[in-house]
Symmetry: C2
Subunit: 596 residues, 2 copies
Amino acid sequence: MTTYTAPLKDMQFLLREIANIDAISQLPGYEEATSDVVDAIIEEAGKFASGVLAPLNWSGDCEGAKFANKQVTVPAGFKEAYKQFAESGWVGLSCGTEHGGQGMPKLVSAAVCEMWRSSNISFALCPMLTVGAVEALELVGSPELKETYLPKMISGEWTGTMNLTEPQAGSDLAAVRSRAEPQADGSYRIFGQKIFITYGDHDMTDNTIHLVLARLPDAPEGVKGISLFVVPKFMVKADGSLGERNDAYCVSIEHKLGIHASPTCVMAYGDNGGAIGYLVGKANEGLKYMFVMMNAARFFVGVEGLGLAEVAYQKAATFARERVQGRAIEGSAGNVPIIKHPDIRRMLMEMRSRIEAMRAISFWSAGMDDIGRKHPDAQTRKTHTAIAEFMTPIVKAWLTETGNEMTYLGVQIHGGMGFIEETGAAQYMRDARITTIYEGTTGIQALDLIGRKTSRDGGATLKAVLAMMQETVGDLGKLSGADFARMAAALKDGIASASKAGTFVAEGLAKTPREVAAGAVPFLRVMGLLCGGWLLAKSAIAAHAKVVAGDTDPFYPAKITTARYFADHAMTGISGFAAEVVAGAESALALDDAMF
Amino acid sequence: MTTYTAPLKDMQFLLREIANIDAISQLPGYEEATSDVVDAIIEEAGKFASGVLAPLNWSGDCEGAKFANKQVTVPAGFKEAYKQFAESGWVGLSCGTEHGGQGMPKLVSAAVCEMWRSSNISFALCPMLTVGAVEALELVGSPELKETYLPKMISGEWTGTMNLTEPQAGSDLAAVRSRAEPQADGSYRIFGQKIFITYGDHDMTDNTIHLVLARLPDAPEGVKGISLFVVPKFMVKADGSLGERNDAYCVSIEHKLGIHASPTCVMAYGDNGGAIGYLVGKANEGLKYMFVMMNAARFFVGVEGLGLAEVAYQKAATFARERVQGRAIEGSAGNVPIIKHPDIRRMLMEMRSRIEAMRAISFWSAGMDDIGRKHPDAQTRKTHTAIAEFMTPIVKAWLTETGNEMTYLGVQIHGGMGFIEETGAAQYMRDARITTIYEGTTGIQALDLIGRKTSRDGGATLKAVLAMMQETVGDLGKLSGADFARMAAALKDGIASASKAGTFVAEGLAKTPREVAAGAVPFLRVMGLLCGGWLLAKSAIAAHAKVVAGDTDPFYPAKITTARYFADHAMTGISGFAAEVVAGAESALALDDAMF
């Protein structure tokens, strides 16, 4: 049902022109990530996504994960695909080389992980969670824990999970109640129930390694009393072989709107005497470590929005070219493919331009993160990390909200067929719906953006990003033609709107937190649209240079048109969202609770 | 799962203050529709919706319509509920009194039908289609056909269907291939397959009356060769009793994203010798008649968007008041209900204000239609009908697009619980997804708006509506306070944007059809937001008058706040959409088909 072709050309363009892979491959530790090597990696990933994962996407949705006899089984084909995925080394692509990973930059993961998400998001969730768990162990695990777990998690032999929330807690981890009782041997017994645990149980591997938030007996209340524990499904003996079944069981799985093939588990720890676990890092610092994992996961959830939009676009474009229906509005001898109808074209351009904007944001942000991690100069690391962190909520929330809108359009282009499940367009929309919710809702991302990312540094990082954009306005001004003039005007107006809204946020949050918070999501929309328009404009400038240099590939003029479309049709929304930020709080907050 | 309380207060307010029920009940034929009677009707309808239909909404979704042995069965409880619905006289509420209907204005239907759609859209589709078929028969059926079919359809003893599209046709009815062979006795034998036939078969009533588009042997090609036929499931004898089974069968039902309880049938006519049918009206004029039915249906599909948004809002507001999670951003002693969080408030206000705007549009447009039908003065009928027809694509498309956005927000407010099917929020989103597609997609509505409704009369109707809005700007200017000033400014700016975009459309469509059509949907968005903002502003003025008159009901200040919110947060988008209309075509249409 799902067919998918990796957008290699756009990825290769962005790697070079926007994310600067050549500079990143100069950084210590990333020397192997030359553009040639990365090209080869993403080509292989594209083949795997199209050939192995995409064919299981629809069948996985229909069959769904199943729960019976205290055990989850994944849909047909998933186990074999996972084995192949692990054996090809895809799990550990970005993991440290010390324990068997390939140590590739995040930029490469951004490209490759988009493909997993386009071709089979339900499948992709499993390695994403594993890598999150690996990162936490790499960061603060003891040498013993690292030795025991990392090689097999990085190789994909075992998978990992993140156990955060509980029925009463939702997004509020301060409310976590699971408890950990210290044992004489230095281990702990874990007791508690966790919900919404992705791949909390499955039959693709021999073992599953749970990272679990719980409270020690003497822990303070709230977020400062939460510790992180490793809890394996099967105990691991000293020789690395598997021992007894641990007291960590899936007790049910959820009946969800989408991602049916991905089991969302209710996990019971310690119903039979206590699940044996091991403290990761320091006591009471668990939430901090979880946030490290979660920030990484947030970026890749953003990429889910992009990946689903891309595959929905491919399906819709194919349908629009093939489906013959109605005459052309300007007159035609017979019926025409619906792609000839202006409104279908508009929707396809809407999808195309938003997708290219999303991808540019994803790649550029990942590149910032890589420089922030590996650059030899501390100040450069600091400024780039600040930008990468500033972008995280934008990537998470704007890409997923936009992903939902685009999969919605994908259904619309199919007309009545889009509503029929067998067409497959609706699955992308269903699958996308969780992406604005898990790993922190759009509202939570927006609070992160206005608080930790904008207000905390007095708007300094925002200003640095806007200054980069201002440079691009100058660059656009050096080029002739209506396309670049329009982009320059849209970008200039957008910067002015964002600057005004950003000042309002940075200066107002401490004084009038409710009023500023009411505009958090509109502010995030301003930034998403503006960052997207900016990076598309930069892309257009780079594409123009190729055209001037005599490259006749139609990809380049199309990139310019797509950027122009975004200026004409997407950036037109920025001033309205900015007005909501600076002047919308009063009416948003005025009514009494009882009136709703 | 679904709980629903009819929004009687807002409806009663709109009936009186926006749609002017008192004037409508003065019109010949609507004398019984006094405000007291209408109040009683909508109260009864509200009870029926909450007590009978809402309890079957979730169970109907889970069970779904079933097809086996050439027969469709509806979910448990539907048959009994339908019987009760028919016996209460709800089917024929707006049908002519000549054959047993109650002859109520469309305005009353708008209110009542919203409730059916909120409480159980899958159920509501069956009587909606019946009423559409009734209207076609009332309009052009022979006295014999009317006598045979109308009384039992209007009483609800039998149901009706609309059989338009075929696999190769989609929205393009010119491509219809079903054929009708004249018989010696004046009847016809119908042959062909029809798809997407809502309630094409079911077990709630003894008979189903199909209205079917087909071609006579000598019919011209295209839309001018399509005739309309009545094809009963069971033949009707001279004494009115049922005779033989007709050769009209459901052969399969679709597996859909939503409206699971509503069977969407593939219908086979004439597989066993020909389905006996009777010509309705004149030969080759079938499409014209169908459009009469379809225009009526389009209005009520728009109301589906509103109804689903309303019930999604009620569910989300209840959840937001009850779900305790996280501290208040300004600080709080303990955790607070999530309605205290500003972004949740913003989403609830977004839902509330868009819903009230949608309902105002629905009621006002229905009232225009009623005056257009029954006013004694021909010129008044003409101008009001023109406005009602102008509003039809706006009601259909803007209310359904907005309904989708609002059910999406309903899921979002529920967080992770929203993605779990048992919560019920996701069902509204799934059910809403068809509303922008069937009875003409949003793109088709937008073409209707720019073509038949705007360009054809040189923009005269648009200008008449904008002139009414301009009067409201004047009225707002007479009131003091920031709320009214803001509404006036937003309305004034919106009128200017719409005027500019409307002129572009009216003057440009004939000369540059592709360029204008590329902006059709953005133009429809301009008009939806502007009409909504206008009618909310009018509502606010009326509410203010109540406050000034000493009415202390908090409904009135809340109405003013809600209108202000819409001006601050929704009308802010108008200028951007208008810019897309007037300056967006070039980039929308520039790329070659092969580039997608």
